[in-house]
Symmetry: none
Subunit: 176 residues, 4 copies
DNA sequence: TATGAATGAGGATTCATTCAT
DNA sequence: AATGAATGAATCCTCATTCAT
């Protein structure tokens, strides 16, 4: 009986509050932006008490940073894994574009969150100058271009600028 | 004597408060973003009293909207005028790119203001759904492309999407 | 008519908000202590809006400090003036005791405020280590004793310690 | 074996949580004051869980009251016992002063706790009107004086007021 | 008409207390 | 019985907006 009850309880959802909160935060931040998102908004979206937010994140800034980092890591990880299956640099680039587009289409709120957090209030960036969640993403795209360039398949260009422009293009398309 | 002094003052400077305020607002909004800009910030930058802001603009939202519209109108007007001097569609496009780049370089705060206000919180857009200062700008670029397309000089593409992508690329480049 | 209306308005109470707020603050702090006094309490007692408090005092700490300083200055000033009328040191000391007792009796809330703020939370003192409103008061009593000592009327004692003890005695009597 | 180990543990240390918590509480309250002391502070100082505090004390107020009462009882008990060894009232008084001074010097945190908790916010006293940990202490000193008075060794005075003043003097000296 | 002091709704954060384990 | 994560009421403070001068 002991064993049973334990099993029961475990199957009864050992809530991962940290993840639950970040998931909610991403959704709300994506929809309303940093400034218009209140901690109460996040708490309600995550269905937890306000105080609980502060058990897992020191303050609102840290909640945004953690959520952004986690999201980038997760989503970029998925795309990277799929791209790596392609041996040919050009195929890899193509796969990336497709995956990126799919991400934008299927998880618009995540996409919006990723690309739009850049334009946060300067207040936030003054407090957190090191924060740039897109850095890893830009780097990934840049690497894609570099591999393609080395293979002689695309012309000599500033791959970083190109990466930024590509992401920027997609970003703007989403917003409009 | 009374009359004279009055005349003198008027001829000395018929202050255009509305314009003065918008000029200041653009600078401050561009630097700090919508949410981190207080009405006091704007009043101080414009060297007017807070109350004066409300004599010319209903509220903070309207101040942003008016400032953005006015800026787009002014800057776009300048660029348009220069572009129209070019008869050939391709020259016109080239001229546009150069002018746009110059605007970004010489008035970074205006550029930043124009391209970054788009990403306002949904809160702002929910309150002002009709607000899209870039609309005119996008349309202008779109027209450029269409003229070029009609002349057979560029391939058949979704000109609007292209316009958005071009602007988005530039935007992202500025931010990074 | 102009003159009249001006006179009228002036007589119509040109409210001194700063003073009004400090008066209220002293009363409330004296009754409830620093920690249990909320800014809303003070605002209500002063019959002003909460925001008004912050137009005159940077924060709650500064409100307490200003109120305490002002009170000491005012009350000590009164007592000092009366004492100075006495030429003889012993008469002066006696006058002081009487005045102090009168202060305690007639304005118990001020008295309580003066003598009890010393025991504030250490949190407050850690933030404001230089704050010691009783310093001036202790010094005044100390000087009284010194004058008396010089005149040979009282024995050789540590006048500062004596001053502190006297004030402490009265303080404790009030509290009980 | 079970029995043995149990016995061992018990004899090793039958933890008295209640006492352990009060000891910690006194230290922390004395150092930080009632309001700046959090239940977590106390729990950490006592090396117990937060929940444990609530198994032994209904709430924070009761924890303070119990700690104060217990301390007074203990310390006063010690001093009383030593004083009682003196047959002569004057010697007894002298012994008391020495003991009190020693307590202040050797356990400043206890001393501070005893004498400073009196000045709690009225909020606390409104909730706990019966709370006056110094009552017993004042009574003890008062009795000392009365015995001395009866023996004709000191003049006729209000012994209670005298007791209060003496304690107040010492209190103020500690604070400064 | 320009002004800025007064205002209070709203938001981030803390912490005593509860309760499931 | 001990524990500590979850909770939300309560508090300080900001800032858009109003209005009397």
């Amino acid at each position: 009986m002991n064993l049973l009850s334990k099993t029961k309880k475990k199957s009864l959802k050992p809530v991962n509050y940290r993840q639950k909160i970040m998931d909610a935060a991403i959704r709300v931040f994506a929809r309303k932006g940093y400034n218009d998102t209140t901690m109460i908004d996040v708490a309600r979206a995550a269905k937890v008490g306000i105080g609980t937010l502060y058990n897992y994140f020191k303050n609102k800034d840290e909640l945004l940073i953690s959520s952004a980092d986690k999201t980038i890591e997760t989503e970029l990880g998925k795309i990277r894994k799929i791209c790596e299956k392609q041996a040919d640099p050009m195929d890899r680039m193509e796969t990336y574009f497709i995956q990126h587009a799919m991400l934008l289409k299927e998880n618009p709120h995540i996409a919006r969150f990723l690309v739009s957090q850049l334009r946060q209030s300067e207040g936030f960036f003054e407090r957190n100058p090191e924060f740039n969640p897109l850095r890893h993403y830009v780097n990934f795209v840049k690497e894609l271009f570099e591999t393609a360039k080395e293979s002689g398949r695309i012309k000599d260009v500033d791959t970083k600028a190109l990466a930024i422009m590509v992401i920027g293009s997609m970003d703007m398309l989403i917003c409009q």
